[in-house]
Amino acid sequence: MTLRFRRISFAYKHSRPVFEELNLTIDAFPAVILGPNGAGKSTLLSLLCGQLEPESGAVVVDGVSEHTKRAVRTLRRRTGWLPQEVKALPGFTTRQQVAYAGWLKGMGYKNAWANALDALRRVDLEASINRPSGSLSGGQRRRLGVAQALVVNPQYLVLDEPYAGLDPEQRSVMRGTLQDLSDSCQIVTSTHQTDDLEDIYRWVVILESGHVHFSGSTQDFYVYALPETPSSLKAELAYRNVLKERRAGTPA
């Protein structure tokens, strides 16, 4: 699978453009998008899953451009999406909320109801299926969001900061979940966490202020770290060096 952002321009209303003629290709998965706050990571993921539509340019997935409404619809149907904030719907149980997400994605409700149980199993929330979704902890709610994304059996899984607000133990559980899912879906995430890069991701993108500073395999990315750097710090150092070089005007 190949994912291409071709000459994408996008701006929120009454704001300066986030992207101007952005070109980006992702050739391997799972892929991670790194960057400081305000870099455009969430916007890029929203464009990828069809939540936002570019002013010009196109997202091309496996050679198919999502120019048309039909293509956007197909992409949305095939894409599971975890937004930064997962809201509990009042009055819904965990399973009902996940099934509702599947129904909103175009599934028949009977199938969505059956898939919801499977999706909750995959994120280790099986024991909470009858609990009100509003009673879940922060970590459980992130996993609920992943279950919502999984309920449609997605081809692509787009996760916006899946570790946000999680304590180290919850992060570890989420990391395990992502590793398991990487066998069945093509995952693209954004994150500030760099300590698990080597374990999970095969492609790294670094964004800053709407510009791509780096896009390449994880091995190529680690070239930016010194060989003698301890493995736990390698990703962090490589990330800093890429940003430093780009800010100094040196091509990455």
């Binding site: 209303k13 929203s46 899953c49 069809g50 939540q51 619809r73 949305r76 149907r77 894409t79 999406w81 937004p83 809201k87 719907l89 009042p90 009055g91 819904f92 149980t93 009902q96 099934a99 509702y100 997400a101 129904w103 909103l104 994605k105 175009g106 028949g108 409700y109 009977k110 109801w113 919502q148 994304a149």
Partner: protein
Amino acid sequence: MSLRPVISPRASPALWFAPLVFLLILYAWWSILSGTFPDPYLTAYVAHADDGLGYGLPIAAGGAAWAARRARRSVVGRWAAVIRSPLRIFWAHTWPLFASVGLAVLVTVVIEIARLAPGPGVPNLWLLVTYLGMATVAIGGGWLIGLIMPLPISLPLAIFAAFEWVTYPLLDGANVSWRNIAGYDLFTCCDAVNLQPDPRALIAPLIVALGILGAIWLAARLTWLLAAATSVGALGAAVVLSLIVATGTNAYGGELRPAAALNCIDSAPTVCLFPEQLDTEDGARIAKTVHTAAAIGITHGVPLPDEIDARNANSRSDSAALPVDLLSGMSSEQVIASLATSLYESNRCRSSVEVRSTLGRDVVVPYVLAQELGGSKYGVVPSISFQQGETPGAAITNLTPKQIVEKLGVSSAAQRQAILNQWKQSQANCMKGKRN
């Protein structure tokens, strides 16, 4: 198909509001209409349900506003890159309100049937489609308000706005026919068996409903400013189109039924009544009264046509059939008075009969005709005086039948025959003049 609802009962404000909507429609309908007795006419029974809707639908709008506020989190928020149609989402969240409205209408019709027993014939089921449109306007309007405003504002505002739509304060002083865009005046459209809902009054609320559905679809599909502009535009265009369609309708959204709806009893003269009247005791009595009156009239020299029709949309003064108000429940005297009055009014020539009565020829001649058709001396007077009451002035309404008959001055058979001959002669002269 799964029986499990997409929105569980615990999470569905529409479901919580549905029983209240149901009870309110029934309560309002019963309070207002339990004392009324329309003709035994199914269309009238279905139309009566409309009156309860005026009270139930504003509450349904409130329920929809609450449901929309909850749905907004999942629909408008960046929650799940939704591909489900906005109208399907609207339906999934609000169907209990539609169901309760439908059930309430059904119950009102069933109670009305049990209470009044209809005559044969099929009701005008387009009324039900219009009710669906009215429910869509109220519930869809509440939904739109709920999508864009916080609950403490949207809930009361949706109820208030829907109630305002029912009571039309914006149309006060305007063309009364425009009120039919809301559909809440249809409940008196068809109490008499010769009336039916005006198709324009049925269509006008449906156009607004389509505008609301268009606005719901657009509101979720486009960026905020464009969505707001196009939604308001769609709704505005629908209201304007609805006003155009409703122009020319009467205040209660009814019209006379067409002649094609009549069924005739083949006899001399042929009497044509509506299906709800035929094959009923009441209809048979009316037809028999007309036949008897015609037979008596012919012996007295009253000129009668070959066919007498219950008044309908195709009734014209120059048609071969005489249109007469023959409504269910009329007494024999009322039928004869109606026949006499119609006979007098049907001729295009202005009568030149000279009468000495201060009440004028427009009362005297119909009275004479009624007498010659077999009406009793005093029994036909209330119907004649009622129908002709405006001609001689208000004073007639304060007189007893005996006093009116004294003022008419045609108590003897000879006097009546003289008036009848004068009238026939004046009509013959007039027609001759027209032919020349």
